[in-house]
C-alpha cells in the first residue's frame, strides 16, 4: 500500500486547500486498519473529529418549540383584536350597499323625473312664449304708431332679438311690404336679413320685389337677395328687367345680381 497519496492529501488538508471529495478520500484512507504508525495519530484525530458530531440536544421536539408555541399562543388574543379587517370588510360592504341603494333611489327618481323636468321645461317655454307674444304685441302697437322714427326703432329692436319667433318675423315682413314710410321699410329689410335662413323670409323678399316701387327699397332688396344667395329670385328679377319705368341704377344692379346668383 502506497501511503503517499494519504500524505499528499494530509498536506492539502492542513493547508486548508482540500476539497470535500479529497477530505472524504483522506478519511476513508485513514480509517483503514493497516494505517502505518507515522499516520496513526492523524488517523486518530480525524476519527475523533468525525465522531464528535454525535452529541445531541436533550430537548424534546416539542420542548424545542415550546417558547415559539407560547409566543404564538400569546399572539392569538392579539389576532382577535386584529379582526378589524373583517369589521372593515363589513363596513365597506355596508357602504357599497348604501351607495347601491342610493343609486337605485336615484334611478327611481330619474324615471319619474322626466315629467317633472318636462314640466319645468314647459313652464319655461311657456314663459318664453308669453314673453315673445308680449313682444309681438308691443311691436305691433309700436308699429301702428304714427311716427316713423318710432317704427324704425321697433323694427331695429327686433333685429337685436335673435330668437324671434315666426309671428314676430311675420310682423316684420308685413312692415317690409306695406309700411308707408320708405325708411321703415328699409329698416325692416335690414332687420329681416338677420333671419335670412328662414324660407318664409326668402320668399317674402321675392314677393316684396314685386311690390316695391321706390328705387332705394328695390336696391336694398336686390342687395339682400344677393346676400342671402336667393336663386329663386332670379326669374322675378329677370321679369323686373323688362319693366320700362325701372330706373337705370336698379336695372344695372339687377343685372349684376342675376350674374352673381346664376
Amino acid at each position: 500500500m502506497n501511503w503517499n497519496r494519504a500524505e499528499e492529501l494530509l498536506e492539502r488538508y492542513y493547508a486548508g486547500l482540500s476539497s470535500a471529495e479529497e477530505e472524504m478520500a483522506l478519511k476513508a484512507l485513514l480509517s483503514r486498519s493497516d494505517v502505518p504508525p507515522h499516520l496513526q495519530q492523524e488517523a486518530s484525530l480525524l476519527g475523533h473529529m468525525k465522531a464528535a458530531g454525535g452529541e445531541e440536544s436533550s430537548l424534546g421536539d416539542d420542548e424545542l418549540f415550546a417558547r415559539l408555541d407560547a409566543s404564538l399562543q400569546a399572539q392569538k388574543p392579539e389576532a382577535k383584536t386584529i379582526q378589524l379587517p373583517v369589521n372593515r370588510l363589513w363596513q365597506i360592504a355596508a357602504a357599497i350597499a348604501l351607495l347601491a341603494i342610493g343609486y337605485w333611489f336615484g334611478t327611481l327618481n330619474a324615471d319619474s323625473a322626466p315629467p317633472a323636468t318636462a314640466l319645468v321645461e314647459d313652464s319655461r317655454q311657456n314663459q318664453q312664449l308669453a314673453q315673445i307674444q308680449q313682444e309681438v304685441q308691443e311691436m305691433k302697437s309700436m308699429l301702428s304708431q304714427s311716427s316713423p322714427s318710432q317704427r324704425i326703432k321697433a323694427v331695429s329692436y327686433v333685429q337685436q332679438n335673435e330668437v324671434a319667433d315666426d309671428e314676430l318675423v311675420q310682423v316684420l315682413i308685413e312692415t317690409m311690404h306695406f309700411d308707408e314710410n320708405v325708411n321703415v321699410r328699409m329698416a325692416a329689410i335690414k332687420a329681416l336679413l338677420h333671419f335670412r335662413d328662414r324660407p318664409q323670409v326668402r320668399q317674402a323678399f321675392v314677393q316684396s320685389l314685386q311690390i316695391q316701387n321706390d328705387p332705394n327699397v328695390q336696391l336694398q332688396l336686390i342687395d339682400g337677395l344677393i346676400k342671402m344667395k336667393n336663386k329663386e329670385a332670379v326669374p322675378q328679377m329677370q321679369e323686373m328687367l323688362q319693366e320700362k319705368e325701372l330706373q337705370e341704377v336698379v336695372k344695372h344692379r339687377l343685372q349684376q345680381g342675376i350674374g352673381v346668383l346664376i
Binding site: 486518530s44 473529529m49 468525525k50
Partner: protein, 182 residues
C-alpha cells in the same frame, strides 16, 4: 427553485416551519454548546433561536440553505449572549472530561475518551472564529458555501483560518497524546 420556496414560505405556517427546522436541531445544539460550553444554556439558546427564526421565516425560505441560516442565527445569538453583561463566562466551569478508570493505559484512555469531550478540549484554545470553522468543516462537514453563509466570511478567509485551526489542533492533540503516554 428559490422562488417556489419563497412562495411556499409566504404561507409558511408553524407546522411547515417546524418540519423545516427540526432536522437541524442537534447541529444547532452542538453549535450553541461549543460556544456556550453549557448544555442548559445551549438548550435555552436553541429555544430562543426558534423564536428568532420564526420571525425571519421569510429570509429562511429564501436562503440557499435553511440549515446554514439557522446556524448563523444560532451563532449570532450565542455570541450576543456571551457579550451580554449578565452573562458569566462559563468556559472556566466547563467540566473537564473524566479520564476514565485507572486500570486502562493512558493511550487506551485517550482512545476511549469521548470524542466530543476531546474536541472540546482541543478546540478550547482556539479563537472563537477558528473553533467555529473547524467545527463546521471537520465535525459537521458543511460545504464551504454553507460556511460562508453561516459566518459571513469569504472562502479565502475560511481556508486560511481553517488551516491555522487544523494545525493548532494537531499540535494540541500531539501534546495531549505525549502527556498521556508519558
Amino acid at each position: 427553485m428559490k422562488s417556489s420556496r419563497a412562495r411556499l414560505d409566504c404561507r409558511m405556517d408553524a407546522q411547515a416551519f417546524k418540519q423545516l427546522i427540526l432536522p437541524t436541531k442537534n447541529r444547532l445544539y452542538r453549535m450553541a454548546l461549543s460556544l456556550l460550553k453549557d448544555s442548559e444554556e445551549a438548550n435555552d439558546m436553541l429555544q430562543e433561536t426558534m423564536l428568532r427564526l420564526w420571525t425571519h421565516r421569510q429570509k429562511l425560505a429564501e436562503c440557499q440553505s435553511a440549515e446554514a441560516f439557522a446556524l448563523r442565527i444560532t451563532r449570532n445569538l450565542c455570541l450576543d449572549r456571551i457579550k451580554s453583561k449578565g452573562y458569566k463566562n462559563r468556559a472556566g466551569q466547563a467540566e473537564m472530561p473524566d479520564w476514565g478508570s485507572a486500570e486502562a493505559t493512558p493511550y487506551r484512555k485517550l482512545e476511549l475518551m469521548d470524542s466530543e469531550q476531546l474536541m472540546k478540549r482541543l478546540f478550547a484554545v482556539l479563537p472563537e472564529q477558528q473553533q467555529t470553522l473547524i467545527r463546521l468543516r471537520d465535525v459537521e462537514e458543511l460545504s464551504y458555501e454553507e460556511i460562508e453563509e453561516v459566518t459571513g466570511l469569504s472562502v479565502n478567509t475560511i481556508r486560511v483560518n481553517l488551516s491555522r485551526a487544523r494545525k493548532a489542533v494537531r499540535e494540541n492533540f500531539t501534546k495531549i497524546n505525549n502527556y498521556e503516554l508519558e
